[in-house]
Amino acid sequence: MTRSLLEVEDLHVTFSTRRGLVEAVRGVTLSLGEGEMLGLVGESGSGKSVTGFAITGLLDVAGRITAGNIRFRGQDISRIGGSDFRSLHGAAMAMIFQNPRAALNPIRAIGEQIADAILAHKRLSRHEARDEALQLLRAVQIRDPEQRMSAYPHELSGGMCQRVMIAMAISCHPALLIADEPTTGLDVTTQKVVMDLLTRIAAERGMATMLITHDLGLAARYCRRIVVMEQGRLVEEAEPMALFRAPRHAYTRRLVAASPTATSRIADLVTEEERGRYVEAKIAPRPQPQPGTPPLLEVQKLAKRFDQGSPAVADFSMMINAGESVGLVGESGSGKSTTSRMICRLIDPSEGEIVFEGQSIGHIPARDFHRSPFRKDIQIVFQDPNDSLNPRFTAFDCIAHPLLRLGRMRAGDALRRRVEECAQRVGLGADLLPRFPHQLSGGQKARVGIARAIACRPRLLVLDEPTAALDVSVQAVVLQLLDTLRREDDLAFLFVSHDLNVVRMMCDRTIVLRNGRIVEQGESRALFDDPQTDYTRELVDAVPHISTGLVEAAT
């Protein structure tokens, strides 16, 4: 056992809000040895970030440590004030955040920003600080560091910005780095590169790291020890393998089950008691399409060019049969959202054909498509449930909206019954219908979005990262719901996602998109188990999971 660097004992953090005091952290005890990498895992609202902020003394003014203590190298730092803490920051402990672009000053060159961080703690000349900044850029493996010194944050990709943040964080050789969701929002391949880099730097410098994340797989891949938090409490502490093989706490069991891995099936995502209805639906046999029936959707040589420059999507051809689920995966900028919106007829393609049920719909301008009889057959579920519901509509209004517009229904009893039926199908209680979006949880909002999309009984549902903004346990339930609906209604899915594990479970076939072009397509399981192209292989390898452990556990 290495020497202990950080000891947190029975930490309580309370926030004063309008609705009185809220205890965000209620008795967290943990320790971190020198050079150790600890994973702090929990879902939103679990208090994991607040714990990190409390340790670094960066709590919001409304938050206060009400009990317990934090000892850093034996010194209690939970009660010391601002100026003493400032000397600790950077030199002894540093923190990096989610969304690195927002944490960097947009109007200052990155070299200058790193030099500023160095100068805050060291007595150096500006020139020497710049030299050190250059060394740091080399250390975080930024290409052409000399040129990048004078680059501004908007000229760098998200992964690059996070590397710059890491460079700033390690500039004064801190003993402890707290990384709060450092790779959330980055592509899987970028995530892997950044995390590998972080791990290597930590090992080289003997820096202890606390990785705060919602992603169990990520924590398992990089940390020797994981602590799981739920509602401000620490529920379990274990090594990754032990955690996956034999989770002791009920919450951990649910979390482990809900985290999709390379081998999990949709039915496995939730524990026995939550499953109920899903199993019933699954037993119902799926109608096989008659041989010779035309595909539901056929897309040929679709392309989209915005202004000048290279096309966002080019030469995209695919087809979907009725009741089939097709995945569309790719990293950010691969054109998957553009493609899904063209198929959904929200934007116009520059060229190509879209044929739905034997009728060409690609030539109808998106501006007039709302009048087409096919509008109700092609519906879409949006990525972020928070911004896909009109803030001035109640849940009822949201679901009733397509019925009034496309279903030709009038306000009245029939409409109310139909809305309630849709709500019930997606597991939304009737008591939630009069609520406004800000009164609903993320999962409930996602359900409203799905209910709205299926209200007019579409034939094809385009799902644009439907669970990307949700916690894994909520994601598990929503994925099951979607799969059930698909089987019940013989719906076809175009499932757009960057999460390969989810696509593998949900989709019969998968298309891999890169820079607007199809790289590879085929039957999902075959595609992921035996990728034919380097790019797909790279994507599959970058997904963090501890499949070996799970396979062993399963056998």
């Binding site: 609705r19 929200l346 896909s388 909206h401 397509p402």
Partner: protein, 282 residues
Amino acid sequence: MTSATLRHAGWILRGNPLTAVAATGVFLFVLVAIFGPWIVPYDPIASDVPQALMPPNAAHWAGTDQLGRDVFSRLLVAARLDLAIAVSAVGISFAIGAVIGAVCGYAGGRLDRIVGRFVDVLMAFPLFVLAMAMVAALGNRVENIVVATAIINLPFYIRFARAEVNVRRNVGWVEAARACGDSHISVVLRFLLPNVLPAMAVQVSLNLGWAILNAAGLSFIGLGVKPPTPEWGIMVADGARFISTGKWWLVAFPGLALMLSVLCFNLLGDGMRDILDPRMRT
């Protein structure tokens, strides 16, 4: 409007008593504007020369003017005209500006550029001078004060609505409305505008004070409302002739009325901004 909204407003008002004071003030001004002619102690027009130029006393709380008319009564009656001019002018520019701005913000492209330059041109003039020129050209009538005030306010509303709609044009619920079968026009009018209105209400309140001042200013220089009619701007203009002889009340009380009304509307606008700011909500 739900009880939650009211509770939220109540919470803000408790933490911000000035807004509550301003809201009460605006409410009083509105009451006076509606009931003024019935509650005044004296006829605001009838002259009573023996009583001329009396300083404030128990019978005439704000004194009398050169024709012996009760200044207090005239102040109360004038509230209706001044508020009516301000409210109708701001109402017109709000209604027109919000729609034009929202359409430009949503459509973008050439229409947006053309309207944008037109707004720039309008704003390049000194606005009060522009209003003076318009009233002088259109004819010296109250309706023309309203039109002129509405036109010089228009650019603010167009810009405001344009900016607010522009940031929302690509949010999920706009695309969702399109997928649910709404046309572009319907998205603008039924989805985007209602979401922009609360923010614009702040602008309206801030603008009302300014419009009152503008109308009074036009009357002060002799445009618009004609002398026997009680109006704060004219009363200040009339009273200014006597200020050198120490008859301060003729100017001070209408000036005070103007100042208080503008202050109340502005403070209310600031308070409303706090109430409507989503970051203040939890």
